[in-house]
């Protein structure tokens, strides 16, 4: 005798039509094993129905608890990398989580990380450019004209003439080609 198999869960969910449901019911009446499986399936279905009906109440309680903390309260839990949820209802659950986060966000909460990075980058650019401009703007304005290293020796000779300390006279600073020994009187 073949048992109901997949038709058992369809029978429990009420998805069989009249003739199929009659044949399945007749089999259940004569098969102890299928009756046992049908009873387990019904019990599981009731448990799931109970869980689904309790979930909205828990979400409402969570919202109330978070609202009680108010501004300045504990920070929201650290964000985790989103896990890829699969299976039936996963999209709804992700949507529910996003809505929950949006609702629990406090006033003054900073913008996204990307926006912060943009602001920091812009500030760094402005500060860096300003520092570079301030540094490059020093050192005085370069006026036109030759670059000069004052000829100290020439100036010294001229200054000595001006002071009259060393008896230079006439056109100054002309090195004598004569050997100094030969010029001594």
């Amino acid at each position: 005798m073949s048992h109901l198999g997949d038709r058992l869960s369809a029978l429990i969910d009420g998805e069989l039509d009249g003739a199929e449901r009659d044949r399945a019911s007749a089999h259940l009446a004569s098969c102890e094993q299928c009756r046992t499986e049908a009873a387990e399936l019904r019990a599981l279905k009731r448990k799931l129905s109970t869980l689904l009906s309790r979930a909205p109440a828990e979400a409402a309680m969570t919202r109330r608890l978070i609202a009680m903390t108010g501004p300045g309260g504990p920070l929201p839990p650290r964000r985790r990398l989103p896990r890829l949820a699969t299976g039936p209802g996963a999209a709804d659950r992700r949507k529910t989580r996003r809505e929950t986060r949006r609702e629990t966000r406090r006033p003054g909460f900073r913008g996204p990380v990307r926006r912060r990075y943009l602001v920091i980058g812009a500030v760094s650019l402005v500060v860096g450019l300003s520092t570079a401009a301030f540094t490059a703007g020093g050192g005085g304005q370069a006026a036109p004209g030759p670059r000069i290293t004052p000829p100290v020796e020439m100036y010294s000779v001229e200054h000595a003439i001006t002071t009259g300390e060393v008896p230079f006279s006439g056109p100054s600073g002309r090195p004598s080609v004569a050997d100094s020994d030969a010029t001594q009187p």
């Binding site: 540094t135 670059r147 000069i148 200054h159 006279s169 004598s176």
Partner: protein
């Protein structure tokens, strides 16, 4: 006296208290003064290198009206004769010039000198800093237009000396084992400014001491191993190497120098410290025209050199210092030459003057002010833009 032996109550007697206060004040003044004098590296009246027998007054530290004395016609005549002797006398000797100016170490210049009456002079520097050469220098002044002299005694400077100071005759002494006439120059406030020893026979200056207002020696020049001879230095050979420094023009009179203002030169008629413009000259160099302006009060001399352009990016042998609140460069090692650039002009100052006078002179000459914040930022952005502009 009763005032100093009050027997009533030694502690409470007002006379004794006054005496104690007076004693305390005297000690408060005398002890630090003694310590400062003992610790000072420069003595108020330094001993001459040559043995001298001076009957002159010591250099006065605190000016007092009593120290003023009338000018002496004899002193003025002696100084004039000394300036003429430096030109008309044939002599040779060794000149040692010591300065204590802006640096504590000072500087010493030693030169051998041969001078022929009325004409050529050969000077060979033996020991000097980087500012002087050991080459023998030949100069010739046949028309007497140059400020020829010995130890700062020239006709022009003597004239300025008599204008700014009171010159007095201070008796006889000796210098370089020769009898010397001593002439002193006093400031109007009664402090000694300078003392000259003039050879009794020829009136040639043999020694000079210059004091600042605090009675410190700031310059001490001696002319030693002096021999007077009719022999002239060997005739300068004709031609010779071209002058690498360029000949200076003949001294320009003050009126002609002041007229240079129209050409954009800075020619102040006076500088701080009573320094008057008394001479100047120009020369051509590879980098342009250089103007030399000479300022003096008869003792202190400041030469101001001007040249259009900017200072080189790197000045070898120069050190950045701050004088009178301005950043300038001083030539090593004696820092007698000071230079900076302002508004397209390079200024170089060489001074034989008290440090305070040099500071004041530097302070009144042009300096570029540091740009304001926004001007500096604007200039910086312009430079940055020019650096990254591929078409700039």
């Amino acid at each position: 006296m009763f005032a100093f032996n009050c027997p009533v109550n030694r502690r409470r007697c007002p006379v004794n208290r006054r005496r104690d206060a007076l004693l305390t004040a005297v000690l408060a003044v005398a002890v630090p003064g003694f310590l400062v004098t003992a610790c000072s590296g420069q003595t108020p009246v330094s001993a001459s290198p040559q043995e001298t027998t001076v009957s002159a007054s010591p250099a006065g530290g605190t000016p007092s009206p009593e120290a003023r004395r009338p000018a002496s016609a004899l002193a003025a005549r002696l100084l004039t004769q000394a300036a003429q002797a430096a030109v008309l006398t044939s002599y040779q000797g060794e000149e040692i010039i010591s300065h204590w100016g802006t640096t504590s170490s000072g500087s010493v210049l030693v030169s051998d000198i041969w001078h022929a009456s009325g004409g050529q002079t050969i000077t060979q520097t033996l020991t000097a800093g980087t500012a002087s050469s050991s080459e023998p220098y030949l100069s010739s002044d046949t028309d007497g237009r140059w400020p020829e002299g010995v130890l700062g005694v020239t006709t022009q400077l003597v004239r300025l000396l008599e204008t700014h100071y009171v010159v007095v005759y201070a008796g006889t002494g000796s210098a370089d084992n020769r009898t010397a006439q001593i002439v002193e120059a006093w400031r109007e406030n009664g402090s000694l400014a300078a003392r000259f020893w003039l050879d009794d026979a020829t009136k040639l200056p043999l020694e000079r001491e210059v004091f600042d207002t605090a009675a410190h020696v700031i310059s001490e020049d001696v002319f030693i191993n002096v021999r007077f001879s009719k022999l002239a230095p060997a005739a300068a050979p004709a031609g010779g190497p071209s002058d690498p420094q360029g000949p200076w023009t003949d001294p320009l009179p003050a009126g002609q120098l002041l007229a240079l203002r129209a050409s954009g030169w800075l020619v102040p008629p006076e500088l701080p410290g009573g320094l008057s413009l008394f001479t100047g000259a120009q020369t051509q160099t590879t980098t342009g025209t250089v103007l030399d302006l000479g300022y003096s009060d008869g003792l202190s001399v400041v030469s101001l050199f001007e040249q259009r352009g900017n200072l080189a990016a790197k000045l070898a042998g120069w050190q950045k210092i701050t004088v009178a609140g301005h950043e300038i460069y001083a030539a090593e090692p004696d820092q007698r030459s000071l230079t900076w650039a302002s508004r397209g002009m390079v200024y170089t100052v060489m001074a034989d003057a008290p440090a305070q006078t040099v500071d004041n002179v530097i302070g009144v000459l042009p300096h570029d002010k540091p740009p304001g914040f926004w001007k500096r930022m604007s200039r910086g952005f312009s430079r940055l833009a020019s650096w990254v502009n591929p078409f700039g």
